[in-house]
Amino acid sequence: MIRFLIKGLFRDKSRSRLPIIVVAIGVMLTVFLHAYITGFMGDTIEMNARFSNGHVKVMTRAYAENMDQNPNDLALLDVQNLKIELQQLFPDMRWAERIQFGGLVDVPDEEGNTRAQGPAIGLGLDLLSPDTKEIQRLNLEGSLVRGNLPARPGEVLASDIFSQRLGIKPGDPITLIGSTMEGGLSIHNFIVAGTLSFGVEVMDRGTVIADIEDVRLALDMYDAAGEVIGFFPDGFYDDHLAKKVSGVFNSIYDAEAGEFMPVMKSLSEQGTMGTYVQLAKVWSWYITLVFVIAMSLVLWNAGLLGGLRRYGEIGVRLAMGEEKGHVYRSMIWESVFVGLVGSLLGTTLGLTIAAYIQVHGIDISGMMEGASLMMPSEIRTRITPMDYYIGFFPGLLSTVTGTMLAGIGIYKRQTARLFKELEA
């Protein structure tokens, strides 16, 4: 009997192949969309984390209160010891010192007179230590457009768009005019080692990246840093964990000890990032939920129609003496098979497409021109464990539920009524 039913299932394409294709497409869309939303929302958070916020950030309490202005006069001192303490407290996390600063970049001609000038956002980070992770973290090597990464002190990187505007190329000297930690005038010469395209409109407009020791020298910030940022080892932001880590740190560094005592803030506690993290979480759930419900309804209906379409066949089987319960159970098993195969197929397809876009990305830089938010100019999906099972909700559950509802008709209708439908 089972062989008979399986034969029927495989031979009747509208009973097997078509529903499997419908389920697979629905599941594929669900899986891909979930990975896409997670990736898009997560990319923006990670981009901000890598360039600016870290997963957690340690600053002085005074610096934290004016964080938007990057007040280096309120920077952390004795940073090397602080880093050692952080490493001991949270050995799994990666820590990096950063100095963010603003200044004017002056480009001299052959005679030393100003040829071009432009305001720049400066970022001092560890570029020259042999074990630095910053180059990899900010994908500086991949972002290099011209020249090389700094190999020795005194070399800087500039954003490619910015360098073109100022007419500078690798090997050209530039002068950074800014203010020291104590508020004095700072003038420091650098050589442009290479130019970068960050893929982030805000940064491409005018950023200069220098080794943190050079920046310390230029801004008189010996053993100081505006901030020490921490990253989770898996490279992904976890708000719950970040708040836990900052809670532990802040309980050790008592608030009453003074405004220059360090304080740790999670990414979501920095500026408007909290709202974005919340928004990302809510929207991600909301869009996924709406889509899962929509797909569930589609596949539910497909299951329902598939069941209704077979009333004729069911009528014949009942006439032959097959029991209603047996017919109903065989319909359910068939829909379990269709739902399972369709879900597996759809999940595989969805994950394959998502994996491709996770690696290669989709370029949306054309849409990001003029953007003032730090958002990625490439959309990448992000595959999470949820993507491996989320498609089974619409794929399996809805298909089976639809068939179960359609099958209830077998019980509710009188056999003679089924026959009338069969004859029709």
């Binding site: 008979f4 034969k7 003496g321 029991e323």
Partner: protein, 235 residues
């Protein structure tokens, strides 16, 4: 031996706020090996009566006994058992399972009765031989003519050698030549296997073959006629 006994049968269907009476006070009996028909125009109640006898529907009043079992008192499972073991159905539009072969269509009732593969093979081939379709066992219904499809349906109804075969307008979709062929096959099976055949029809071709004719009009038995064997041969 008595196969069917119908006592004071009335069947009503809900219609709008009221009820429509399809059958009124029917009293009939059918024995083993009868070749009988319910004859009447559309709406006379012949299909309703056939459905009740086939345990596909239940009486509103009165009693219908098929092989000693009261149809009105059977559970859904008991009714299915009765159909599975003792009844065969032949429909106007054949209702073969389109994706299965001729062999598989005929084999289906035997699968429900849990016969083993060897028994099934023999019984199916016997049934196909009765209807002259042994060479078509691997064909599928869409590859067959209407007459061949109906012969497959007859083989399917007869394969388990039921006590009773119910045929609702079995020749309605067939031409005269095929109709006669089908009816001759059924008559032969009735004669050889002593299976009781009960038809619902208004087709003269079928009526001419019947040994017992029950005329229904507006849900009542209007007339009944027993035909002598010699008359049938003459006809």
């Amino acid at each position: 031996m008595e196969i069917i006994r119908i006592k004071n049968l009335t069947k009503r269907f809900p219609m709008g706020k009221g009820e429509f009476t399809a059958l009124r006070d029917i009293n009939l009996e059918f024995g083993t090996g009868e070749f009988a028909g319910l004859i009447g125009p559309s709406g006379s109640g012949k299909t309703t009566l056939l459905n009740i006898v086939g345990s596909l529907d239940v009486p509103s009043e009165g009693e219908v006994f098929v092989l000693g079992k009261s149809i009105g008192n059977l559970s859904s499972r008991e009714a299915a058992q009765l159909r599975k073991k003792n009844m065969g159905f032949i429909f106007q539009s054949y209702n073969l399972l389109q994706v299965h072969t001729v062999f598989e269509n005929v084999e289906f009732p035997l699968l429900l009765l849990k016969y083993n593969a060897t028994e099934r093979k023999k019984m199916v081939m016997d049934a196909l031989e009765w209807v002259g379709l042994t060479d078509k066992e691997k064909s599928k219904p869409p590859q067959l003519s209407g007459g061949e499809c109906q012969r497959v349906a007859i083989a399917r109804a007869m394969v388990k050698r039921p006590s009773l075969v119910l045929a609702d307008e079995p020749t309605a979709n067939l031409d005269a030549k095929n109709s006669h062929h089908i009816l001759q096959t059924m008559e032969k099976l009735n004669r050889e296997l002593k299976t009781t055949f009960l038809f619902a029809t208004h087709d003269d071709k079928v009526i001419n073959y019947l040994h017992r004719k029950i005329y229904l009009l507006d849900g009542r038995v209007d007339n009944e006629e027993i035909v002598e064997h010699s008359q049938i041969i003459q006809s």
